[in-house]
Amino acid sequence: MAPIARPDTRMPAPSERPERTGFGVPLDGAILERARRGDTTAFAAIYSLYGRACYNLALRMLAEPAAAEDVVQDVFIKLMEGLRGFRGDAPFGAWLKRMAANAAVDRLRARRAFDGEDFDESTGAFAVDDAPADARVDAWTLLMRLSPRARAVLVLHELEGYTHRELGEMFGQSESFSKSVLHRTLQRLGRAEPDASADTGS
């Protein structure tokens, strides 16, 4: 199996992670206004609030640190070039998350990661089911063993809270496509779930 790209990891304690991802943090209206006026320090503040969430979302979907950095860069440059797309009818974090998710999906599409892929075969190719029963497979490794499509659906639905309908739109597929991919992915993960003590590093 090809080596799995894995950036330097620092597993924060649960107390450091009050929520699943950082997109739920509200943005101060004053920062938003300054950003609308093109104030770079306001963009730096937005980056410190949401940059990490963007990076982790992209990294989980793309499995490549360099590609995840590119996604964060694309998202924040778009942000700095104009906040016109943000109408304020949804929380800023949700809007930004959608930008990051779309940018990651676009990259997967550009890599043709979705084309002609048979999910069952590609997942099988990573041999999750064939792993020895006592294999110490941590959460990250488990995620990286999924096909790009399965990984993207899993991350966006289970971790980021997108509905199947939203995922169908995002991937240019039907709602049932997302349901089907997720169902099979979860079934396989359920069979391959590691010993909890092995994947936290604690």
Binding site: P7, D8, T9, R10, M11, P12, R17, R20, T40, A44, Y47, G51, R52, Y55, N56, L59, R60, P65, E69, V72, Q73, F76, I77, M80, E81, D138, A139, W140, L142, L143, L154, E158, L159, S176, K179, S180, H183, R184, L186, Q187, L189, G190, E193, P194, A196, D199, T200, G201
Partner: protein, 146 residues
């Protein structure tokens, strides 16, 4: 409910995924890229402005000098035709009335600063008249010879 609709719980391990820190160099890189793109856009905008100015100047140059050149060419042709007509006419022949009207129109046009197109058309008309006069001289000569 088909097989894919049966709910399958997400394994707890998913919620134990590590949160990776942002690479330290990423924000400075983003700022640098943004600044570079902004400079490029400004340069492109400035370049477009310069290109537009040059294009306008070229159009003006071509439209400007070209028309007086055309008029000058017609004036020269008119002098040649006039000389030819004079050479074939009786010494005391009066200046044809039609030519006098065209000349008066030309003078008026120059006096009021008329458009080049109008002046060109008048010179063209003058030359056409001179060609007709020369042609009629040639015809008369032919008749005399016969």
């Amino acid at each position: 409910m088909n097989r894919d609709d049966e709910p399958v719980a997400a394994p707890d391990v998913l919620h134990a995924l590590p949160e990776f820190p942002l690479p330290a160099a990423l924000w400075p890189n983003i700022l640098a890229t943004f600044a570079r793109r902004r400079r490029r856009r400004r340069a492109a905008a400035a370049g477009f402005g310069v290109a537009a100015t040059i294009a306008l100047a070229l159009v003006a140059y071509r439209a400007g000098p070209a028309a007086p050149d055309a008029v000058a060419g017609m004036q020269h042709e008119s002098l040649v035709l006039q000389h030819r007509w004079r050479a074939g006419a009786q010494p005391a022949s009066p200046w044809p009335a039609e030519l006098r009207r065209v000349d008066a129109s030309l003078q008026l046009a120059y006096d009021r600063g008329a458009e080049t197109a109008e002046i060109t058309a008048l010179w063209q008309r003058r030359n056409d008249l001179l060609r007709i006069l020369i042609a009629s001289q040639d015809d008369a000569l032919a008749v005399t010879r016969l």
